[in-house]
């Protein structure tokens, strides 16, 4: 423990545990993608852990999140089963989505996770609808919409900011500005500032260090409190970075949109390194061991699980009359 570090806060161990879990999960996912035990590609969250951990630590299990294509961290931080999520990525029947969704659609609605989403900004309006619904029932649950800097180019995001402000919805907009929309630098994608979009709608907006889970958590606590108490939406821009490519297939493309020096400069600000100063070596190593065991169990669970039966490919398409609706022409 760094002697100059501030006193540990009550939530530090939990923030660290969540971030370590996400990091270990994502490192394992990359291995499994490379071994072809996970089909398709996935979008790694490595580097951005402080955002998911800091935001979700401000939430209850009855609150909602709408996630993104880079969603594993959000889902873990909201409390979903790591084994269930890994089994989902491994396309198994025991996965959270029974192997029907995969990385880009992973959801656990029982925990308020309305789903990752394969379309940029596509899930943001779900947060508005869920938040409105609970408020309409007299509850004080809130909904967080996660999105990246790329979503700032989507008209749907603006529509949602406007509607949430008009209707004073209990929504927290969390922009994870990791600097790039795939390969497009944010400076080439966003005119003006990101927070000015929210401010134009009268939504309180802050920019925080997205590599520091305490800073993110502090901003999230303020925003969530504002939402719960009827103060309407808030906007948090988290400045963060992803060390890996846009997705697991990117290394093979040999893209040149950023330099190794830039990546290294961000690794020096790694959210887990930042958090090291908050906890004793003993506490950290205990958490690291627990996380390693949990991930190892998840891998075993995923490998031991069955794939869905091929004849169930049409299952769950419709809630009413699934067999009758499909099956005639299809």
């Amino acid at each position: 423990m760094n002697p100059a570090a501030p006193e540990p806060q009550s939530g530090d161990a939990e923030l660290y545990r969540v971030m370590r879990t996400i990091r270990a999960f994502e490192e394992t996912v990359v291995e499994l993608v490379n071994r072809d035990e996970i089909p398709g590609t996935t979008h790694e969250y490595i580097g951005q852990e402080a955002v998911a951990a800091g935001v979700c630590a401000a939430l209850r299990s009855t609150d909602f999140i709408a996630s993104t294509h880079r969603g594993h961290g959000h889902v873990i931080a909201k409390g979903a089963s790591v084994s269930g999520m890994l089994a989902e990525l491994m396309a198994k029947e025991t996965g959270l989505n029974r192997g029907r969704g995969g990385s880009m659609h992973v959801a656990d609605v029982s925990l308020g996770v309305l789903g990752a989403n394969g379309i940029v900004a596509g899930g943001v309006p779900f947060a508005l609808g869920a938040a409105w619904g609970r408020r309409n029932e007299g509850r004080d649950d809130v909904a967080v919409a996660f999105f990246g800097d790329g979503a700032v180019g989507q008209g749907l995001l603006y529509e949602c900011l406007n509607m949430a402000a008009l209707w004073k919805l209990p929504v927290v907009f969390v922009c994870e500005n990791n600097g790039y929309a795939v390969s497009l630098p944010v400076a080439d994608a966003v005119a003006g500032t990101i927070v000015s979009r929210a401010e134009a709608c009268g939504i309180p907006a802050v920019t925080v260090d997205g590599m520091n889970a305490r800073d993110v958590n502090g901003a999230a606590i303020d925003a969530v409190e504002r939402a719960r108490s009827g103060g309407g939406p808030s906007f948090i821009e988290c400045i963060t970075y992803r060390y890996a490519g846009h997705h697991t297939a990117e290394p093979s493309l040999k893209l040149t949109y950023r330099t190794p020096e830039e990546i290294e400069s961000w690794r020096a600000k790694d959210p887990l390194i930042v958090a090291e100063d908050w906890l004793s070596d003993e506490v950290r190593s205990r958490i690291d061991d627990e996380v390693a065991d949990r991930i190892a169990e998840a891998v075993e669970f995923g490998r031991a699980s069955a794939t869905p039966a091929p004849e169930t490919a049409n299952d769950y398409m419709y809630a009413n009359d699934n067999d009758r609706v499909r099956g005639v022409l299809g």
Binding site: F64, A66, G95, L96, N97, R98, G99, R100, G101, H105, A107, D108, V109, S110, L114, G115, N117, I119, G122, G123, V124, P125, F126, A127, L128, G129, A130, A131, W132, G133, R134, N136, A143, G155, L156, E159, C160, N162, M163, L166, D315, Y316, M317, Y318, A319, N320, D321, R324, V325, V328, L329
Partner: protein, 325 residues
Amino acid sequence: MARTRYMQAFAQALRDEMLDDERVIALGEDVRQSLRRVTAGLHAEFGDDRVLDTPLSEQAFTGFATGAAMVGYRPVVEYQIPSLVYVAFDQIANQAQKIRLMTGGQVKVPVTYVLPGSGARRGLAGQHSDHPYSLLVHAGVKTVVPAFPDDAYSLFRAAIRDDDPVAVIAPAAVLGVRQELDGMPTEPVPLGRGRIHRHGTDVTVVAIGHLVHEAIAAADELAEEASVEVFDPRTLLPFDWDLLFESVTRTRRLVVMDDSNRTSGIAGDIVSAVVERIVLDALPIRLTRADVPVPFSPILEERVLPSRAQLIDALRTVTSERPNR
């Protein structure tokens, strides 16, 4: 018995569902004032929590409805102009419609999309004259197109009660249709049940929406020449294939009348489904809209839409051919 207008029955269906189930909400553009009369009076009766005027943000309010549906509401979303569903298409076809399967059945998405006044209406031109049903069906969205007031009432209610996204399309040309009804129908009509309006033995006409009325008129006009069966699918997805196959097995001739674009339109699917199963006595005929945007000039508009005159010609053609067996 009373002469009941289509729009009156349509609006009554929504009101009755809102009375029966407090989870039913209505949202869309100008729904408090109700330009389309689907929601007329509902704001005064049910208030701000049940009737929501939205900004002109079709993507956002469509996705909002999905989110509300995921937490237990039954939103009814009105698109004031049917082609506004194109603006919202990702949120319908790629989000709401897919979420249940993508989540392995974790959620239901009981949203109803209402498209009142679809199709060409003389002079509304290229962007306000479509019937987007073939597109919605292609995307897997349950879709109903009622032709009569009683079906407008029953099927709109069935759509709201269904646990999946359902599009309800009310063609502009039927909004003024009147029907003698002894109150609103009390017997529910499930989605996916067709209706035979005229029984016949020589040819089956499948007509969609407002074209059902053209088909009935053509059948009456040709009564001396041919016995025409008029089949109204009412629901395009799920489609009542059993009833259609039974009909065409008897008549062995088929004409399909569909006011959407010919290419990748539902008329092609209907013909294909039939000829894959049944050997016909004459080549089937599709009467569809031409593959062009509806031109503004009424004489051009008329030129690109399927007409009763075309249907009468087609019926004469298919019934004049000798059996090929």
